[in-house]
């Protein structure tokens, strides 16, 4: 494909950039509805306790309070995909997030005051905060709403996957390493805290939710189920999102609570988390412990991987429990691997529960795998780059799990980052080294494999698009997909602009209203450019079938002779052209009269995984490799990330600006995971619910990031593109940890790699 493009591949500013930088964008926090009330939630003070009594009488008497609800006041269903999560808790609390009561009042201050007036009597119970304790036979049952799917009463979810002959491959292995890895709890830190405005009309029984969800149609169904309503009576309007990163994939109790308050009061109710509440009560990345054993033959060829993952599920289930679905792809298929066994167990504890977070389990899995590969290389005496190149994935590979790599830039990505880090590394100059050889440098590599063409996990992984050209030549794209800051609106407008020759300034994207837009499964799995992009292409094709015959007729030529560009339709043969809007008017206002509007639904050709989790679940697969150079200060333990080289198989670059944003943001997020971030919990309490002690990287911490896109032009993607959004985060922590290990010669097996951990490792007094 060497076609010249007008706009595809050209740096294009986001079409919503202006309203975002000027402050015009309406975030959830900005919404003001007539007669709006303010909601607030009373959460438990004790992570684990029986509730002896709840007295709301004083709160109800406070001036300005419109309603106070507890579990006794509502008729609702449990939420979460396991239906193990009551919206309001009754009788007992099991984690520090637990919602006990909620109020709606005429001001935020009154709502807060009312919370203080609610009296709750607790009888503290002993909690279980360690999944290995909770899984013991004699441990008390933590969640009482589960269906007995598993014999052990505290198991929330279990996955088992295997391929190949493990015993045979073990026997073949000349080198074997076994290691345990521990991953921390980190959280999304969205700039906009969780928010919702609910507007229930008692007149027509309809509920409008101004929501930050990233899966509006699944959400509509989930909310309806929770509230025992008809889904179609619920209209979801998606507000501008101040950061998502996967946090808005599930529905959490505050959302139906806000709706319930509005339904009780018959007035709109707005509920906004404080920053502290955001840290305490919004989801985290799944924390887990891996026990990995892996082998290689005498030439460094991988033989087997045997992985046990133990997930701390927290007190209720959210999507965190399903992240092993993604992890197993990394263990089964990142680098060629003849045999693999993967078992994961998600265990209820009295900790906070995890949701989905960019990468969906993959940063964790990649950390464990890539650390193990370094350990294997050390064992074999092989270079860290060579072992990776030798085992890299290749084009046309069908992995034992059934993933089909129609295109694959893995090896190329590795070659690039290995070469580039060689060029950028500089030995320490003597003055830096100092008389005590204070600084040590190291290089680390890691790769990643992630779905890049959607992921078939729901009955449909499709997306609908309606296109409408008005009589003045402007195009409206009504897409099922959602913009959550990733720049999908812009990419979709670019695709339509490319195909229809309409300038991007004349394209509007409508994507926020479930009453209007066609169905889409939601933003996840880095799927939007791929799936919604293909959907736009399909819709364009259908619309052209309507416009082209008319244009051909007016230009007195054949359809095949037409080119759409610069707002006109051109006949190549006759070098004549006609304005697009003229053709639209000719269709609309002349007999028989029709609108230039069409709808298309794109369903990717991916398959469902079978019972053994085998199958080609995505339309395309993304690969990336990163190499990192770090400098470790052996006096303080501080790790300074100098350069990060990122080579990523993106299929095709659609918008270089949007892509750079994803890459840089992802790498910095990965660096935070590697070095800084951890939500510290102790006996169920969160000790650092603020930006002071939860260390998010600042702009001053950003290293030099070098990006090398690899264009493999996947036959199924729009113009050959694959998903890119999650990938840049996934290998970063692994690569940084590998670099630190390389620098100081100590195996790193937990994140974040804090200065204190480094110093302890260096002083040899404590195992890392």
């Amino acid at each position: 494909m060497t076609k010249d493009f007008n706009i595809i591949g050209k740096p294009t500013p986001k079409i919503d950039a202006n309203i975002r930088v000027t402050g015009e964008a309406q975030f959830g926090h900005d919404i003001q509805l007539p007669n709006m009330l303010y909601g607030a939630i009373l959460r438990t003070k004790e992570p684990v306790a029986d509730i002896i009594s709840i007295d709301t009488s004083k709160a109800k008497q406070l001036d300005g309070v419109r309603c106070v609800i507890t579990a006794d006041d509502v008729d609702v269903n449990n939420i979460s995909y396991r239906r193990d999560h009551p919206i309001l808790k009754k009788g007992q609390v099991n984690c520090i997030r637990d919602e006990i009561a909620a109020v709606a009042a005429t001001s935020k201050e009154i709502a807060q005051k009312a919370l203080e007036l609610i009296e709750v009597e607790y009888k503290v119970r002993e909690g279980i905060f360690d999944p290995f304790e909770a899984i013991k036979e004699d441990a008390p049952q933590i969640n009482h709403f589960i269906d007995g799917k598993y014999p052990n009463k505290n198991i929330a979810e279990h996955f088992h996957y295997e391929h190949g002959n493990l015993d045979e491959e073990k026997a073949k292995s000349k080198f074997v390493v076994s290691h345990r890895f521990t991953l921390p709890r980190v959280t999304h830190c969205c700039m906009a805290t969780s928010n919702m405005t609910a507007d229930y009309s008692k007149t027509d029984g309809r509920l409008t939710l101004y929501s930050t969800t990233q899966v509006p149609f699944l959400y509509q169904r989930d909310i309806a189920r929770a509230l025992k309503m008809e889904p179609s009576k619920i209209r979801i309007i998606q507000v501008v999102i101040g950061g998502g990163f996967g946090s808005k994939l599930d529905m959490y109790p505050y959302e139906p609570i806000c709706a319930l308050l509005s339904m009780k009061c018959g007035q709109p109710v707005q509920l906004i988390f404080s920053r502290e509440e955001e840290f305490i009560a919004s989801p985290t990345r799944q924390t887990m412990i891996y026990d990995v054993t892996a082998g290689a033959d005498e030439n460094g060829g991988f033989t087997f991987r045997d992985v046990k993952a133990t997930l701390d599920n927290g007190a209720y289930t959210s999507w965190g429990a399903t992240t092993p679905f993604v992890m197993m792809q990394t263990f089964s298929s990142l680098y060629q691997c003849p045999a693999c066994r993967f078992d994961s167990t998600s265990v209820y504890t009295n900790n906070v529960y995890a949701g989905s977070f960019r990468g969906y389990g993959n940063p964790q899995a990649t950390f464990a795998l890539e650390r193990t590969i370094d350990m294997l290389a050390d064992e074999i005496g092989m270079s860290k780059s060579e072992i990776r190149l030798k085992n890299a994935n290749f084009k046309g590979e069908v992995t034992k799990q059934g993933l089909h790599f129609i295109t694959c830039g893995h090896k190329e990505a590795l070659e690039i980052v290995i070469e580039k880090v060689k060029e950028s590394t500089h030995p320490l100059i003597p003055s830096q080294e100092g008389k005590h050889k204070r600084y040590k440098k190291g290089v680390g590599y890691a790769s990643m494999l992630h779905v890049g063409g959607g992921a078939k996990i729901y009955p449909s992984d499709g997306c609908g698009t309606t296109l409408k050209i008005d009589p003045f030549g402007y195009l409206t794209i009504i897409t099922g997909s959602s913009e959550i800051g990733q720049g999908s609106e812009t990419v979709l407008a670019m695709i339509a602009s490319e195909e229809l020759g309409i300038d991007i300034s004349k394209i509007k994207v409508i994507n926020t209203d479930t009453d209007i837009k066609p169905w889409d499964v939601g933003v996840h799995a880095s799927r939007t450019s791929f799936v919604a992009g293909n959907s736009v292409l399909g819709a364009v094709k259908k619309l052209k079938e309507k416009i082209s015959p008319k244009a051909a007729q007016l230009l007195k030529t054949d359809i095949d002779d037409l080119v759409y560009e610069n707002g006109v339709i051109k006949s190549i043969k006759k070098s004549e052209s006609i304005e697009l809007d003229k053709v639209v008017r000719a269709i609309h206002f002349k007999e028989p009269g029709d609108l230039c509007i069409d709808t298309y639904f794109f369903e990717p050709s991916s398959e469902f995984a079978d019972k053994e989790f085998k199958g080609n679940v995505s339309g395309a697969y993304a690969f990336a490799s990163q190499s990192v150079e770090v400098e470790v200060d052996t006096y303080t333990g501080n790790v300074n990330v100098l350069d990060i080289h990122v080579a990523q198989d993106v299929g095709k670059v659609l918008n270089p600006l949007g892509l750079a944003g994803q890459i840089e943001g992802g790498v910095v997020m990965g660096m935070g995971y590697a070095l800084l971030e951890e939500l510290v919990v102790d006996k169920g309490m969160i000790l650092n619910p603020n930006f002071h002690n939860y260390k998010l990287p600042t702009s001053m911490d950003v290293p030099r990031i070098h990006f090398y896109p690899i264009e493999t032009e996947d036959s199924l993607g729009p113009y050959g593109a694959k998903g890119v959004g999650e990938a840049p985060l996934i290998p970063t922590a692994a690569a940084i940890a590998n670099a630190v290990s390389d620098a100081i010669g100590v195996q790193i097996d937990s994140l974040p790699v804090t200065p204190e951990k480094v110093l302890r490792a260096l002083s040899g007094n404590v195992k890392f």
Partner: protein, 294 residues
């Protein structure tokens, strides 16, 4: 959150009058509010008065003035103003650097010297540098009188200072010491601020080390102001380390001397373990960075 009323005196007379008027009330001073607002947000209790200093128009409170013998810094001078001041940058690099590592550029625009000292946090960056420089606090009372207190006697513990209820911190004074007599040039000064934390910005020191060492024409150390932050309930001036260095030449120090010096600094450290670092880590790092300065 504690509710409050704001009173904004425009000059020193009005200020002293307001302090006088509020002697039987609960009141606080507010300068840049980067500490005060957080504190009030965490508390609940009866309404208080805040005497807002940000409208105060008085050079003694808000300017940096150099004389033959000292530099006087008004309590309302911001971290940013310190960073931009050439005299401070040249004469007291330790103070320049400390002000420049405080929080972030945004916070530095409003955070004041007075606020940093009067919060009396063991982690105060500017305060740590001022302790190393043995600065002197100039305290103004409602009688319009000034009394002076050495800074290490001014800060008594977190949010505890030597101020009486009818007093306010007006300014701090740093003596020029040997600069005047020895006409010292830059290569005679070893002066810097080392702040340990995990991030490069927006970081409260896990430990910090401020040092200001002056050498004479024969390379002999004549002054060695060294202070440690986040290492004890208050910022400590490490007098024994000072005395150890006086009269010595840095290039003549051997490894054992350096270790002895670092041990003398460490004598003043009694850090706690908290979420930002363990006692072990704080001591270890303090020891390491103390060695690194010689």
């Amino acid at each position: 959150m504690t509710d409050f009323d704001v009173i904004s005196p425009g000059n020193v007379d009005e200020l002293l009058l307001e302090i006088e008027n509020n002697q039987s009330n609960n009141f606080r001073f507010g300068a840049g509010y980067t500490d005060l607002l957080l504190e009030l947000r965490k508390q609940s209790g009866p309404k208080i008065n805040v005497i807002n200093l940000s409208n105060l128009n008085d050079p003694d409170f808000s300017s940096i003035v150099k004389s033959e013998i000292n530099i006087r810094i008004g309590s309302l001078v911001t971290a940013c103003e310190i960073v931009k001041n050439n005299d401070i940058n040249e004469l007291f690099p330790v103070l320049h650097k400390a002000a420049n590592t405080l929080a972030s550029k945004q916070i530095r625009q409003v955070a004041t010297v007075g606020g940093n000292i009067c919060t009396a946090s063991p982690a105060g960056d500017i305060a740590t540098a001022l302790v190393a420089l043995e600065a002197v606090c100039e305290i103004l009372s409602t009688k319009n009188e000034i009394r002076v207190v050495p800074i290490s006697e001014f800060m008594l513990g977190v949010r505890k200072t030597a101020l009486k209820k009818n007093e306010i911190l007006r300014s701090v004074v740093i003596p020029l010491r040997f600069f005047a007599s020895l006409r010292m040039t830059n290569d005679r000064i070893i002066s810097d601020f080392i702040k340990i934390g995990t991030r490069k910005s927006m970081e409260c020191a896990v430990v910090s080390l401020a040092y200001h060492i002056l050498q004479d024409d024969e390379d002999k150390i004549r002054y060695a102001g060294i202070a440690i932050g986040s290492s004890a309930p208050t910022i400590k001036f490490t007098k024994n380390a000072y005395e150890f260095l006086i009269g010595k030449r840095i290039k003549e120090l051997n490894d054992d001397d350096i270790i002895e010096f670092a041990k003398k600094v460490l004598e003043y450290a009694s850090p706690i373990s908290d979420i930002r670092g363990s006692e072990w880590y704080r001591k270890q790092v303090l020891f390491n960075i103390s060695k690194s300065i010689l």
